[in-house]
């Protein structure tokens, strides 16, 4: 089933390609701007391309898959009766959700590997300083966003409303996560609020581990909590028809 869903996924490549190429293009494009390659006092002597830019691009890729691609596909499956058909077989329909989630994680991993490798080779983005912690944070953060995506799929009545809710959540989350303005430059209050939403801790923890530091426990707790809450809610609220 996972393989089948992956095949179907590749036949409709607009979503994954967008999720892979947009962040990659942005990373390489913006990363070529000379001022982003110089140490900046506002960012504590770091260069923008050290952690801020690549970190945010990883997040952008994951967020696109989790909040826009995943819910749209699942709600479309419900709307068109694919889940209904599946419910008549001995296979629990939950497996379809799992297959979808696995595929989305696959795309996110692929995108992240490309970002790291190509970013490193072409514009000199440093490799993650604590690789193991980085992988751990990446998986936990991806899980938290996918959980949010599943929750959207659970409650959205139509494909249109699913993508609407997805974007509605995506942009504020990206903002407090430091997508457009580095978190260091955000007002204190905004930053504190962001600490308790799933995306900003993900971004911060990614950047911390990229720089070789340990992630902050609060951030890990918020991400793990998000996974727990969204998955439990999604399972309880998910409608098969």
């Amino acid at each position: 089933m996972i393989i089948m869903e992956a095949k179907l996924f590749l036949r409709d490549p607009a979503g994954p390609i967008f999720a892979i190429l947009l962040p990659l293009g942005l990373l390489l494009g913006l990363g070529s701007i000379p001022s982003f390659q110089e140490a900046s006092a506002e960012m504590g002597g770091q260069r923008v391309i050290d952690t801020q830019l690549p970190g945010m691009m990883v997040i952008l890729s994951v967020v696109t898959m989790a909040l826009s691609a995943l819910p749209a596909v699942l709600v479309a499956y419900r709307e068109s009766g694919i889940l209904r058909r599946l419910s008549t077989t001995p296979v629990p329909p939950v497996r379809l959700l799992i297959a979808q989630v696995v595929n989305n994680i696959g795309v996110a991993v692929l995108s992240t590997v490309l970002l790291i490798v190509l970013g490193h080779v072409t514009i000199g983005v440093p490799l993650p300083g604590s690789p193991l912690a980085f992988v751990g944070v990446f998986l936990l953060g991806t899980a938290s966003l996918l959980g949010l995506g599943l929750l959207i799929a659970a409650v959205a009545p139509s494909v249109k409303s699913a993508s609407g809710i997805g974007s509605l959540l995506m942009f504020p989350l990206l903002f407090v996560g430091g997508m457009w303005i580095p978190r260091e430059m955000l007002p204190d209050l905004v930053r504190r609020i962001g600490d308790f939403l799933p995306l900003a801790p993900f971004a911060q923890a990614l950047r911390d581990t990229w720089a070789g530091h340990a992630p902050q426990p609060l951030h890990l707790v918020v991400m793990a909590g998000t996974v727990l809450v969204t998955v439990v809610l999604a399972i309880r609220l998910f409608r098969w028809e």
Partner: protein, 299 residues
């Protein structure tokens, strides 16, 4: 052997019972139809049988009372408004669904069987309505089921595709699969079903063979002919099968039941009368439904 036993089934949506006390049983090897107008509760009834909905009251026993998970292994179900992903290919869908069952049928042979061999590499979205239905039937059979539930499977098909589908169903039954067929098409029910459950507004109206249901219509037969002006209709009216005789000039209309046509022609022959324009009409399931419920099934 009874493969499906439904007893006092009730199912409520919001505050309304859409199925309100339905009982019937399906014998092994028969094509059993659930017939009624749109919204009568037919689909809800079979969804309860298939274990997709939990009844509010009553019992459903499938194959002697299997557990829900086991039912799905032995039951092939084709539901209304269910679909496959647009870009899945016919053979991929079959292979995928075959992998869901412990003892699947040979899906390659099934594709041939339902006449989709040429379409095996076609994507679902490119199939015609009839082809989608045939794939849907094949998917319902891929688990080697003992019982197949087919819900409104010819709705929206053109007459030729509908006839092809009927033939397919008869073949499947010939293989020993018991079929529970939901329909609101009289012609389909009359042609395919051994027995029918008539359902109206959530209630069971009658269970009988199509002929048996039609026979419940009073004066289900009508014979008309033209006779010479001198012909006396009195002997016809005395026949046990005849309930009424009307004469309108040369035209005679006899209504009644049973072997009416035979009785009338025999009587005419004895009287030495040669009828012209002899016609016999039989009541249809439509008439039966009208007689039993006081309303027509709209098709």
């Amino acid at each position: 052997m009874k493969v499906i036993e439904v007893n006092g089934l009730r199912k409520k949506y919001r505050d309304r019972f859409v199925v309100d006390g339905v009982s019937f049983s399906v014998e092994e090897g028969e094509i059993f139809g659930v017939l009624g107008p749109n919204g009568a509760g037919k689909s809800t009834t079979v969804e309860c049988v298939a274990g997709l909905r939990v009844p509010d009251a009553g019992t459903v026993k499938v194959l002697g009372g299997l557990h829900r998970a086991e039912i799905k292994e032995r039951l092939g179900v084709q539901l209304q408004s269910s679909a496959m992903p647009a870009k899945i290919k016919v053979w991929e869908a079959m292979e995928l669904y075959a992998s869901f069952y412990r003892e699947p049928a040979d899906w390659r042979a099934l594709i041939e069987r339902v006449g989709l061999a040429e379409k095996r590499n076609a994507r679902y979205a490119t199939l015609s309505g009839g082809q989608k239905q045939r794939l849907s039937i094949a998917l319902a059979l891929v688990g080697n089921p003992r019982v197949a539930i087919l819900d409104e499977l010819t709705t929206g098909l053109d007459p030729q595709a509908r006839r092809d589908t009927w033939e397919l169903i008869e073949q499947i039954r010939a293989d020993g699969v018991t079929i529970l067929l939901v329909t609101h098409f009289m012609e389909e029910a009359e042609r395919l079903c051994d027995r029918l459950a008539l359902i109206d507004a959530g209630r069971l109206v009658a269970v009988d063979s199509p002929d048996g249901l039609i026979a419940r219509v009073r004066d289900s037969q009508r014979v008309t002919f033209r006779a010479p002006a001198l012909f006396d209709t009195a002997p016809l009216a005395d026949l046990p099968q005849v309930s009424g005789v009307r004469r309108d000039g040369a035209r005679v209309e006899v209504t009644g039941s049973g072997e009416l046509l035979l009785a009338v022609t025999t009587a005419l022959a004895m009287a030495g009368v040669v009828p012209k324009d002899l016609r016999a009409e039989q009541a249809t399931l439509d008439d039966a439904f009208l007689a039993l419920t006081g309303k027509k099934i709209s098709t």
